[in-house]
């Protein structure tokens, strides 16, 4: 599943690879169970590309983000996989070597702004820390000046004065702006944003997203945006990967997923997005059943027990589908479904 397909009308994305992940698998091992959080995930991220990763809670999205950064803590462990960052494999680096990469070449924004900042340290010191981590011996005044610049860049007014504030003196939206300022402090090539707007109210969400949009555009940063909100994906991303039970079950350009979702799970996800027309038709459909227990994965296709297509088909329960490359009306996609060709053909008719 190596294909990352750029829609033809999107020439902004260059061919240069910012990040390339191959066969990444991560497990959480407790005394009682082995949880497969990420299973054999591969993808490419081009410079300035914006990839959205969507999926339900517990589908392994956050574990994937932490695995890429080498920040999986015990009892979790990356089983295998290659992570090429600008052509260099960082998956085998020591923690010290990775420290030089994290925050410098690849940075992270987390979901909950209320817990992403240390409550007993000033905002300024936490931004300066991000700068100083990659520039030892930086002078205090220089650090402060650059921290204030960063605060201005994320549109916080009276930046100099607000450097000395503590996180509890900031609102949720402002804290998330600070988190973004920390992430872009060293102008990384790749930014991983794990549900960056989920914990915010709708108005603030739009503002933070607009800010992120402007910043990654200006800095020419490639982004992996993890979300469960397909609306955000359609606004913000160039390409999308649908994650289910630790796997990328469908990946394509954004247009494909919204016009011809091929994997039954993608289709079901899309049907769950509320919009005015559909609300008029009655209650929102929900995907029946529950996401599988990642420590007791079913054999065959993980979605089979909930799948409207394959629920009663023996092959779906026995044989794990390989990625199928298909071409739909809005571009190519890689789909892990036995019926991918058949389904895309139905769409085209």
């Amino acid at each position: 599943m190596n294909g990352r397909f750029t829609p033809s009308e999107e020439p902004a994305v260059s061919d240069e690879l910012a990040l390339s992940v191959r066969n990444l698998s991560t497990v959480y091992e407790t005394g009682y169970s082995l949880v497969h959080a990420v299973r054999d995930v591969s993808f490419d991220l081009r410079a300035t590309e914006r990839l959205g990763i969507v999926g339900e809670s517990g589908s392994g999205k956050s574990a994937l983000a932490l695995s890429i950064l080498g920040l999986i803590e015990p009892p979790g462990r990356v089983l295998e996989g290659g992570i090429m960052l600008a052509g260099r494999d960082i998956s085998k680096l020591s923690d010290r070597q990775l420290g030089a990469v994290r925050g410098k070449e690849i940075a992270l924004v987390l979901q909950d702004p209320s817990s992403a900042l240390d409550p007993v340290k000033t905002i300024g010191s936490q931004i300066v820390e991000a700068l100083a981590a990659h520039e030892p011996g930086m002078r205090r005044a220089a650090g402060r000046r650059r921290a204030a610049e960063l605060l201005r860049e994320v549109e916080i007014s009276q930046a100099e004065r607000r450097l000395d504030d503590y996180p509890h003196q900031y609102s949720g939206g402002m804290r998330q702006r600070v988190a973004i300022a920390i992430a872009i402090a060293n102008n990384p090539n790749v930014l991983i944003a794990d549900e960056p707007t989920t914990a915010l109210d709708v108005t603030t969400q739009a503002q933070v997203l607009a800010l992120l949009d402007r910043l990654v555009d200006e800095h020419r940063t490639a982004v992996i945006l993890i979300t469960h909100n397909l609306g955000i994906v359609s606004d913000f991303c160039d390409s999308v990967a649908v994650m289910y039970a630790g796997r990328f079950v469908e990946s394509s350009g954004v247009d494909h997923i919204f016009t011809a979702p091929t994997h039954p799970y993608s289709e079901a996800l899309l049907k769950c997005v509320p919009n005015p027309e559909r609300l008029a038709e009655g209650p929102l459909p929900a995907i029946t059943g529950f996401p599988p227990d990642l420590s007791k994965l079913p054999s065959g296709c993980s979605f089979a027990p909930r799948c409207p297509v394959g629920r009663d088909i023996a092959r779906c329960h026995e044989q794990t589908p390989l990625p199928h490359l298909v071409r739909g009306p809005a571009g190519e996609a890689s789909v892990e479904c036995h019926f991918a060709e058949q389904r895309i053909a139905e769409v085209r008719v």
Binding site: R102, A107, D118, P119, V120, A130, Q169, G173, M174
Partner: protein
């Protein structure tokens, strides 16, 4: 900030006030007449009435209470019934021994708790963690006096590497010149290294016995706090900046995990300073605890009542100090939340 401090101080005054009322009421409802107690069973009723009048027991209760607390806060703690010595002088003589033991024990318990909690959480080694937790259970379940005897049997009777229950110094040793009357400090001030060493040796076993249960409590608390804080997203963010594991842990996990421990530390220190009657008894430690033990045996109420009130006041003061320290080091207490969108 000012409001916070004012609140804490007012609260402490209230607590001390409550303690004085409690101590006063308990003394009044206890059976027996102090005058009779002082004069003995053979004294005439006339003499008892006269003494009652002299010490004010025939006055209204509020007058008695007022005299009681004004005397207490002026340091007029009365005289020991058994040897006529001023209670203030008796307690003053014994206090340094108790304070020295309390502080030493507190430092040991705290250091041990911090290092073991770090050991059991930092590297995610389940075996280390299990050993530390097991040790803390042992400390919880072992009564201090039992541990004291055990320590004496092992380190004194069997191994002969630490001194036995002979007080603060060896029998023939002379105390160092009195400055603070804490022997370790005074010995160092006087440059008497031999005496310092001896004082230190004598401190070890009673400190361990006194500190064990508090250590267990602190290590469990600190371990739980560290575990919780090390899972906080801000630790991941700090690591994501490129900080080394230990740097992120030291700068962000430790301070946040330490804050709640401060309160517990205050409680523990307060408890230690109030003295341990049992431990001092076992080690023949000439502290306030031993004094109170003897006073109880001799029904020397003047000493006991002063001690009760004094330990209440000290407990409140230590906790007030902790609260004020909080206000200084925790920005969430120091600076109110300003809602700005």
């Amino acid at each position: 900030m000012g409001r916070v401090i004012a609140f804490r101080v007012l609260g402490s005054i209230g607590a001390v006030f409550g303690a004085t009322i409690l101590a006063f009421v308990i003394m009044r409802v206890l059976p027996g007449n102090p005058a009779r107690l002082i004069l003995g069973p053979l004294a005439t009723q006339h003499a008892v009435t006269a003494l009652n009048h002299q010490i004010g027991l025939d006055r209204p209760l509020y007058v008695q209470y007022w005299r009681y607390i004004s005397d207490f806060f002026q340091g007029n703690w009365g005289y020991s019934y058994s040897d006529g010595e001023s209670v203030r002088k008796l307690i003053g003589e014994r206090a340094p021994a108790t304070i020295e033991l309390a502080v030493f024990s507190f430092v040991i318990a705290m250091l041990a708790a911090v290092s073991l909690a770090l050991l059991s959480t930092y590297r995610h080694r389940p075996i280390t963690d299990r050993i530390v937790r097991g040790a803390s259970y042992l400390g919880f379940g072992t009564p201090p006096f039992f541990l004291a005897l055990l320590l004496l049997i092992v380190f004194f009777s069997t191994l002969h590497i630490l001194p036995g229950p002979d007080g603060r110094l060896g029998v023939q040793a002379t105390p160092p010149p009195a400055v603070t009357r804490m022997y370790t400090i005074d010995a160092l001030l006087a440059g008497q290294l031999g005496t310092f060493w001896q004082a230190l040796e004598h401190l070890i076993l009673p400190s361990l016995a006194l500190g064990i249960s508090s250590f267990s409590f602190l290590v469990r608390l600190l371990r739980a706090n560290l575990l919780e804080v090390s899972r906080e997203p801000f630790i991941t963010v700090a690591r994501g900046k490129g900080l080394r594991r230990w740097t992120a842990f030291r700068r962000h996990a430790l301070p946040n995990a330490f804050l709640p421990t401060l309160t517990a530390g205050g409680l523990v220190l307060g408890e230690f300073l109030a003295g341990s009657v049992l431990i001092e008894r076992i080690f023949n430690w000439p502290g306030v605890g031993s004094l109170v033990f003897d006073a109880i045996v001799k029904q020397d109420y003047a000493i006991v009542q002063t001690f009760i009130l004094l330990s209440a006041v000290m407990f409140v003061l230590v906790n007030l100090a902790v609260d004020l320290l909080y206000a200084v080091i925790d920005p969430r207490v120091r600076i109110p939340t300003v809602a700005t969108a």
